[in-house]
């Protein structure tokens, strides 16, 4: 429903352009929409879940983390196949009728990137000094304050998790091509379009789409680098000041 609205607005805004340019713009907008939505949903699940796991030290949660880490390598085509079976007419969620829509692509993406965001979030929270939790509790933090504090303290790691999730979502092809069907003007995204155009021999077109994808990846990388540099300056000053400790 949201996508239909965005699609209509985009098409109205670019109505003056030639059909091929319109198609490229629509593909780019859908790619960004799909990656943003799947990253948002996965972050809403993965960050609190990861923080919860990261704060627990028992064997059970350790096993859960191992399981989460093993899902990092889940082949996209397997994720796509699972979602396809779930959403196909004969599948348990078939009545929803969302197969071959951007929604089904978002579901498949979530299956792929939620473990990534969960695992990195858990590591980010787990790597905080143990005394942070004790300090916050000693200063009167209740359970909710404590979780908020831990998330805030691990914010750079969490940011990295989100950006990596976004990076995987935007560059993924196997799952979205299965559940989206790569339908022109409807479910084509940059990666699936590149596959299609390459098969057709339209290498220039494929390269243009590739360049757009790379540009988006570059912007993400730039944001990440700036954030890490900011952290780096803090570390530098910490090291300089730390030299005179005592």
């Amino acid at each position: 429903m949201i996508w239909e609205l965005i699609r209509e607005v985009t098409l109205q805004l670019i109505s003056g352009l030639d059909p091929e340019t319109q198609r490229v713009v629509l593909i780019t907008v859908l790619t960004l929409y799909m990656a943003t939505m799947s990253t948002t949903v996965s972050s809403l699940i993965g960050i609190p879940l990861g923080a919860f796991i990261g704060m627990r030290k028992s064997q059970l949660f350790l096993l859960f983390r191992v399981f989460t880490h093993s899902l990092y390598g889940l082949p996209p085509v397997i994720a796509g196949l699972l979602v396809y079976m779930l959403l196909s007419r004969a599948g348990p969620l078939g009545p929803l009728g969302i197969l071959f829509t951007p929604t089904s692509m978002i579901v498949a993406q979530c299956l792929l990137i939620t473990p990534l965001i969960t695992g990195i979030s858990a590591s980010a929270v787990d790597s905080l000094p143990k005394n942070i939790e004790d300090t916050a509790r000693s200063l009167g933090a209740n359970r909710i304050d404590l979780i908020k504090t831990m998330l805030y303290e691990a914010r750079l790691g969490l940011f990295t998790a989100v950006m990596l999730g976004f990076g995987r979502a935007i560059s993924e092809v196997g799952a979205v091509i299965i559940v989206g069907g790569n339908i022109k003007w409807h479910t084509q995204v940059l990666t699936t379009s590149i596959v299609l155009e390459t098969q057709r021999g339209n290498f220039n077109y494929a390269l243009t789409l590739g360049a757009i994808l790379m540009l988006i990846a570059l912007i993400i990388s730039l944001v990440l680098t700036i954030a890490q540099k900011k952290k780096g300056s803090n570390l530098r000053s910490l090291l300089i000041k730390g030299g005179g400790k005592g």
Partner: protein, 240 residues
């Protein structure tokens, strides 16, 4: 705040950190828990601060068992200053105001109280600095301000001047004594520094190998210890 520990034991896997320890903390006074490293001082403070649960025995605060009567309100009236304080990754003033914020203190008062606390520990000009860049002495002073700002009824200090220079030690010790005098609050400090215990405390508890060996008024314990082990410790025959 009335604090009493009854038959406390704490086991960490194969090690018994506390063995049937029981005493009452005199209200409104400074009590020093002394003993060599590994005698169970920190464990005891952590149990009083409810960061750890005892394996056996119980903690009684104001006549009630906080584990059964909801400990969140009790916890808000106490604070612990750790030996190696951890700075939150934010400014000095944000660190100091943390406890006030989680207590939902009015925003206008938070800034004012935090600034005053920083002034008291001589860090008034460091309010905006990124806390992890403070030196060890400054960090310890900031950690003390972070506790002081809450005006706790019970203050637990774990080796709060360890590794500090004499100037910083004197400053923090004076702040402890002033706070105790001005607010009538109860202070329990764990230290292996006998001179500090002698300087600051009214009452003293000697722990050795997780066991309570002797307790009493500091002056009396230092001048005429009853237990031979206490005598040895005070005379420096037992390594700190």
């Amino acid at each position: 705040m009335k604090v009493e520990v009854k038959g406390l034991s704490k086991r960490f896997e194969d090690r018994l950190a506390l063995d049937d320890v029981g005493f009452q903390v005199p209200e409104g006074k400074i009590t020093a828990i002394v003993g060599p490293s590994g005698s169970g001082k920190t464990t005891l403070l952590r149990i009083i601060n409810m960061l750890d649960r005892p394996t056996k025995g119980k903690l009684v605060i104001n006549g009630k068992d906080p584990a059964k009567n909801g400990h969140s309100q009790v916890l808000k009236k106490m604070v612990m200053v750790f030996q190696n304080p951890v700075m939150f990754n934010r400014s000095v003033i944000a660190n100091v105001s943390y406890g006030l914020k989680v207590r939902r203190v009015d925003k206008t008062k938070v800034k004012d109280r935090s600034e005053k606390a920083l002034e008291r520990v001589g860090l008034g000009d460091r309010a905006g600095q990124y806390a992890p860049t403070l030196s060890a002495g400054e960090s310890q002073r900031m950690a003390f301000a972070r506790g002081l700002v809450l005006e706790p009824e019970l203050m637990l200090l774990d080796e709060f001047t360890a590794n500090l220079d004499p100037g910083n030690v004197a400053l923090l010790e004076k702040l402890v004594m002033d706070y105790n005098k001005d607010s009538d609050s109860t202070i329990v400090l764990a230290t292996h520094n006998l001179y500090q215990a002698k300087r600051l405390s009214h009452h003293c508890i000697f722990l050795f190998d997780g066991k309570l060996i002797e307790k009493g008024r500091t002056k009396k314990m230092f001048s005429s210890p009853k237990d031979p082990l206490t005598k040895k410790f005070l005379s420096g025959e037992i390594a700190w």
